[in-house]
């Protein structure tokens, strides 16, 4: 008699079979391997790890494969897996001055101790489609590609902002807030949020959302005179102190992108004018996002500096409550779920209101 989204069990399982078929595509084309995705779509893998808040390139690549390349879906898969993992402890803070550098630039100084290292970057490439990539290259031809890394080999690469700090021109990097770091993934975010939670929120926030908000600050909605003090990308070791040992051991290496922004501050009655900082850190190689985070980190410090709140990017609740793409896509896409009951309620109300409009004396009561 009537067909609707009811009777779903069979329909769902058929839809999922269909999905698996579409995901696989033409069977005459070889199936993608997770390793290929990991190797050749590494920036997608990095984004999924960063927003999925789980450093595991293999699982991130698997998620990308499973989601047909829908990165938000892939991030969701990784998050849902992450949440089931046991937390056995907290590592020591990573030391990015001891990073094995892949790339490191400053746009505030022409030259910096240790040098500017361009590394693998799309900057300065001409965005012309390279038609030669249409045909896979012969085996071995790619071998000529250089593999170069700049190891710190013991002596750390000092941060650019440290030079300014030595002169007292920039505020200290330590906020003076409590040393125990809270965990956004275990506790609900409360507004106002402390800086550790803010940075965690931004680190797993949606790249597109953060990018646009950061952009809005540059266009005058909370402008803050930013200079990139330094961006560095590379591998750092992660150290953990097992309680039974009592000393740190290295448990692995992760690639991170770190951005330190230099911003202006006019000073106040208690503080002389000096530069202020914005900080951004992400898993993997995600420069665009690290820059956006550092712009927003600074924009969101209005309360701390007694600055006027002029733009959406300075509104903590607005930014932090809407940055998470898993929350956002879940709620926006839940509109696909049936709403018959509420719609029926609205329909009945609207009909009654219209009836009263036409016939005000009828009291709107239905017979």
């Amino acid at each position: 008699m009537y067909v609707s989204a009811k009777g779903g069990e069979k329909a769902i399982s058929k839809a999922h079979e269909f999905l698996a078929e579409v995901r696989r595509g033409d069977l005459s084309i070889p199936e993608l391997t997770v390793e290929q995705i990991r190797q050749q779509l590494s920036l997608a893998v990095d984004r999924v790890m960063a927003e999925g808040s789980l450093y595991d390139p293999e699982l991130a690549a698997l998620a990308i494969k499973q989601s047909s390349g829908d990165l938000i879906e892939a991030i969701f898969l990784l998050r849902a897996y992450r949440t089931t993992l046991t937390r056995f402890g907290v590592t020591l803070p990573i030391d990015t001055t001891r990073m094995t550098l892949l790339r490191r630039i400053s746009s505030a100084y022409k030259d910096i101790p240790g040098g500017q290292i361009l590394g693998p970057t799309y900057d300065y490439t001409h965005r012309l489609l390279d038609f030669s990539l249409l045909i896979p290259s012969e085996k071995g031809e790619d071998q000529k590609v250089l593999k170069c890394e700049f190891s710190t080999q013991g002596e750390p690469f000092a941060r650019v902002l440290e030079f300014l700090h030595q002169e007292g021109l920039v505020e200290s990097g330590h906020s003076g807030e409590s040393e125990t770091v809270q965990d956004l993934t275990l506790q609900p975010l409360q507004i106002p949020a402390t800086r550790d939670l803010r940075l965690q929120n931004l680190a797993r926030g949606d790249e597109g959302f953060l990018l646009s908000l950061a952009y809005s600050t540059q266009r005058g909605f909370g402008y803050n005179h930013p200079f990139i003090g330094e961006i560095r990308v590379g591998e750092v070791s992660v150290e953990f102190v097992p309680p039974e040992l009592g000393f740190p051991i290295e448990i692995g290496k992760i690639t991170v992108t770190e951005c330190e922004m230099i911003n202006q501050f006019k000073g106040s009655s208690t503080h002389p004018p000096c530069f202020t900082r914005g900080y951004g850190l992400t898993f993997g190689h995600c420069e665009r996002k690290a820059i956006a985070i550092s712009l927003l980190d600074r924009a969101l410090r209005t309360r701390e500096f007694g600055e006027a709140q002029e733009g959406p990017a300075q509104d903590e609740e607005f930014v932090l409550m809407h940055s998470d793409n898993i929350q956002a896509s879940g709620f926006v896409e839940h509109l696909k779920l049936p709403h018959y009951v509420d719609f029926q309620a609205e329909l009945t109300l609207l009909r009654n209101l219209r009836k009263e409009y036409r016939d005000p004396k009828g009291e709107g009561e239905q017979p």
Binding site: Y2, L337, H339, D342, Q344, E356, G364
Partner: protein, 317 residues
């Protein structure tokens, strides 16, 4: 490669193979305990929203993860679970949620309201009255009833703390002055235990009277917004209104085309291209049971059933 979490062996089901690598009911025991503690606090302060460390679930946020987390925290191997969406047991999302629990717990699933120990729902309260010992778990999108009047959380928190609900009454008053009635068809705000204004979740206001002094425990979970609240059994729940504009519920001219009910909440179905319509019960279990009874019922029973329903209808209006 990576160590999967161990399943608790005693929870193993006889019939359905459980999902490997995940704990009973998906969440780890520590998270379940955290949720149960939040629930205890919520029950102790009826209608008050308690923040909790909502987790990512394998279903999207906004698709019932708050309810799913509460169900996961409460469910044991002996529970009998019913999941409905829009009143129906067989809507796609209800099926998907049931599948998750079948896969991770192996518990028994039922469509019969009176048989269920746990009922997870989206947008409806079953027509069959709930009993003592049952738990109804609502999926909540926006737990804050004041959110559309005041978008800022610190502000609404303050309003709840001071029981400063003037804004809500002004809104209802403005409805009356504009439309001649309170123009809120669903998610109609309620006052719980004379203290906190709470959102009944997006149930139609038709269902609001069922919340009042309900013998079952009512739990509300908002996963994305990370809030839990509760209404203990037999708690006073009042739909907001004014003395001269009392709260009223939807009524239909029509009756259910399948079971003939005039008392249940009806879904409207468009039959054909000419806009022909028919109405059927939104509560599929209620409708089904009525049809089964109708087949065997003697005429006197039908008359008696009608009388009972009429009486029930009088009480709720």
């Amino acid at each position: 490669m990576r160590g999967p979490l161990k399943l608790q062996p005693k929870m193993k089901s006889k019939s359905v193979p459980l999902q490997e690598g995940y704990n009973f009911a998906y969440l780890d025991e520590g998270t379940k305990r955290m949720i149960r503690r939040t629930l205890l606090k919520a029950i102790a302060i009826p209608g008050h929203q308690i923040p909790f460390g909502s987790r990512e679930m394998p279903l999207p946020l906004g698709w019932g993860t708050g309810g799913i987390q509460i169900t996961a925290a409460l469910i044991g191997p002996d529970d009998i679970l019913k999941v409905i969406d829009q009143g129906a047991d067989d809507t796609t999302n209800a099926i998907s949620i049931k599948k998750l629990f079948v896969k991770t717990t192996g518990v028994q699933i039922t469509e019969r309201t009176e048989k269920a120990t746990l009922i997870q729902t989206r947008h409806r309260i079953p027509e069959t009255p709930l009993k003592e010992g049952q738990v109804i778990i609502y999926q909540v999108p926006i737990p804050e009833p004041l959110r559309f009047l005041e978008p800022r959380e610190p502000e609404t928190r303050k309003m709840h703390a001071l029981a400063d609900y003037g804004l809500m009454y002004v809104k209802l008053y403005e409805d009356i002055s504009t439309h001649g009635r309170i123009a809120t068809a669903f998610m109609y705000p309620v006052l719980v235990h004379h203290r906190y204004i709470a959102s009944p979740s997006p149930i139609p206001r038709f269902d609001n009277p069922k919340m009042d002094r309900m013998p079952a425990l009512q739990l509300f979970g908002a996963g994305r917004e990370k809030r839990i609240y509760a209404i203990p059994p037999y708690t006073t729940v009042k739909s907001l209104d004014f003395e001269d504009y009392p709260f009223e519920i939807e009524k239909w001219d029509q009756q259910c085309a399948l079971c003939g009910s005039r008392e249940s909440y009806l879904d409207e179905i468009i039959k054909d291209d000419q806009g022909g319509r028919l109405f059927v019960c939104s509560d599929t279990d209620y409708c089904q049971q009525r049809r089964e009874k109708g087949k065997n019922a003697s005429p006197s029973e039908v008359v008696a059933m009608k009388a009972v329903r009429r009486k029930k209808g009088d009480e709720t209006t």
